[in-house]
Symmetry: C2
Subunit: 442 residues, 2 copies
């Protein structure tokens, strides 16, 4: 049987999972690849660090040059996170003739064009299915399986940590701080959870998916993004009363700009934001640390994917599948065909976010006195925003100066108009606290 | 740009969709394939038949030899249903040097080994993602994306027609005949719906999936199979009361034979049967003509796919994706690597169906008199079947000789024991009609 010699760079959580699959289950990989993937070296920075998978003797090294100078190693899995030294090592590996498989989404989101151009110049390939949605093979599905389609829309839950937190808030009626603490206790959230809870991680993934599906060239920091760290569990309860759940939803869809319905051409709607999703629809039923994505293609219609978007073995599953694809030659073909992150112009323009149509959930904290609803409805009307439904419950305290929550679901309105109207309402004397505004997925 | 000349054999529903994608959207295909797929000929049996897509002049022919003798045509999409002449034409195409893309699942289920062996002898390939679950690219996902995994289990709704019918029965409280009529009126069911409603279509797909995922070599007629044509909407109501929906579920999972939980080794549990699925789990929420599959891999965990399993454009999407894969060379690699339907021995044994563990839903039609429950419970106990819950409602009629439905959910029991126990119960004097027995998905 043919042998492809491979190297692993990095042996953290994912690297350990990859080593486990390649070494403990080599027979299975050989059967599915028609060849043996032979782990020649595993490069780490600290040789002394305790590891929970014992490598065969002689594999572990802190000397990258052992890989760079070994011409028999044709393929390296780059499993170091962050930008540097990951970027420099990736370039060195490419220059020494290795094809690359990586799970490093930040590296691609920041340096995709540079790395892909260099790989093309050198006749090498980069596979990256593990970098987005872990075990869900969404890169292969969009880049290969749906290639007969114009993708119309991607709507997804791309970050398991935040989905765990919002699920906790909803199911346990917990506040954000308590739900975050629980997520940290269970290892779903990092000690510093900023990149997850700010929506940044989801925006990085969305930037990669939008590039692949639509030819968009948008840096993730340019994607309008609202995190979950200011979510109030009160809004979860009101949403439920209205038949919705709140999820951190990433959206990329083609748009004619008039209604929030995807079309085959137009500009690209692109954002990550807490969104009300109708209970009973697939995205609303995604619980805990799971990821999900609904892809709509003009031929295939809606296809929904649901699975574990992170974690040691799901991510390792994607890395090893990419390693097999690279070893047998499929990746090279796909890489040359799709010409990703090339100097080609973007194939799509981004829709001006202020012009984005959509329905909104609004919550105002207002004085409990006559005329308040009229005043607020008047300001919404001034900005052409129609009201679809209102919830106002009996106030809980009593006496003068009581405040009550006023929840309004709007009809279709423009993002800019909704933003301006809410800012104006927030300046009314009868409004006693900052208002809440969230998009509603139709 | 490079050109790959292709031929379409058959221009029924799917063929028309494929022609539409390749001819109306050639630019898109070219972008995703890095080359033009040029339709050289479309072979049909009846040139005069009216068609709802107008082909460019000179493409349509009833002369297969125009394709067979054209050495420039490297790829043919075989879009004729049934066994003959599809089988003979496929062999002729292979022998004249064409790679094949097909949506003909029956042909593969019956003649897979012959066709794949011949393709291998001739150095050609056969791609067949369109033959199972239409637009859901499940063949590529299992054969390529999950190749780092031992697949533990496949559980799915593989037939949209039957899922539409059972959804109608449940949602409209309709009986089977009325729901079938509605499915026929809307074009979801054929005038002769036998292959769908008997479960045969789902069994053919399951045989292909079990071969791909587990190396099983089981003819679809050997798969234990119960259709939906004897379903009673009363059972839908009782199931709902217990928190379940009834779906036609296809299962292939590895098993140690003791509990209905998948394992990494053992024998293969394989069947298609109406099954109670817990409300709120993904499979229970699949409505209408949709298909869905839950794949569990030992590394990736559970991944769930949901989409349109049939229909003109979803199936055409899969055919054209396979044509692109074949034209660029990915299919050839996969075909050689996976060595499907070869003379290799089966890698897995099928579990003796009588030894299959599982929980059961049982409904008996019994006399409304004291002692009946005891008698039935006694017979179940004799066969080591424990009762988990019972529903017995007030009888609706009155007087002597009244019959009432008695619904029992069991604990884990063996299929054979459940079958024998029900047969014995059916012979009791207090039981007045044939009993109902369905598996419950845990």
């Amino acid at each position: 049987m043919q042998v492809t010699k491979v190297a692993l760079i990095g042996m953290g959580t994912v690297g350990t999972g990859v080593a486990r699959l390649l070494i403990d289950h080599g027979d299975r990989t050989a059967r599915h690849a028609g060849r043996t993937l032979w782990v020649e070296s595993v490069v780490v920075s600290d040789l002394q660090k305790p590891r929970d998978f014992e490598l065969p003797r002689g594999l572990l090294t802190n000397d990258l040059s052992r890989v760079l100078q070994n011409g028999e190693v044709k393929l390296a899995a780059m499993l170091i996170g962050g930008i540097e030294p990951a970027r420099t090592i990736t370039l060195q590996l490419l220059e020494s003739g290795k094809d690359i498989v990586t799970a490093n989404k930040l590296l691609l989101a920041e340096h995709g064009p540079e790395l892909f151009d260099r790989a093309r110049e050198l006749g090498r390939s980069i596979a990256f299915d593990a970098s987005v949605m872990g075990g869900i093979p969404i890169i292969t599905n969009i880049g290969q399986c749906f290639s007969a389609n114009q993708i119309l829309s991607l709507r997804g839950i791309l970050n398991g940590t935040t989905n765990f937190i919002v699920s906790q808030m909803e199911e346990q009626d917990a506040d954000y701080a308590a739900a975050l603490k629980e997520a940290q206790r269970l290892g779903y959230a990092e000690p510093d959870p900023t990149m997850d809870v700010s929506g940044g991680d989801a925006a990085q993934k969305l930037a990669i998916l939008a590039h692949l599906a639509f030819g968009a060239r948008v840096h993730w920091r340019e994607i309008p993004c609202v995190g979950i760290d200011t979510l109030d569990s009160a809004d979860m309860r009101y949403a439920k009363e209205l038949g919705y759940r709140i999820k951190l939803i990433a959206v990329a869809q083609l748009h004619d700009g008039t209604r929030s319905v995807p079309t085959t051409s137009g500009a690209l709607e692109l954002h990550v934001t807490p969104t009300l999703v109708k209970i009973g629809t697939p995205l609303a039923e995604v619980r805990g640390a799971f990821n999900a994505l609904q892809v709509v293609g003009d031929a295939v219609g809606p296809v929904f994917f649901h699975g574990l978007g992170a974690g040691q073995m799901p991510t390792a599953s994607a890395v090893v599948a990419d390693m097999i694809d690279t070893a047998v030659g499929r990746t090279g073909i796909t890489f040359r065909t799709l010409n990703l992150w090339s100097q080609d112009e973007a194939r799509v323009k981004t829709l001006d976010h202020k012009q984005l149509p959509g329905r909104y959930y609004l919550r105002f904290t207002v004085e409990d006195r006559p005329g308040v609803l009229a005043e607020i409805a008047g300001l919404l009307g001034k900005h052409q925003i129609s009201i679809a439904s209102v919830i106002q419950h009996e106030p809980s305290g009593d006496g003068a100066g009581r405040v009550v929550p006023l929840v309004i679901m709007t009809q279709q309105a423009k993002e800019g108009a909704a933003q301006t109207a809410v800012a104006e309402i927030d300046r009314l004397k009868c409004v006693r606290a900052g208002s809440v505004r969230m998009r509603v997925l139709d």
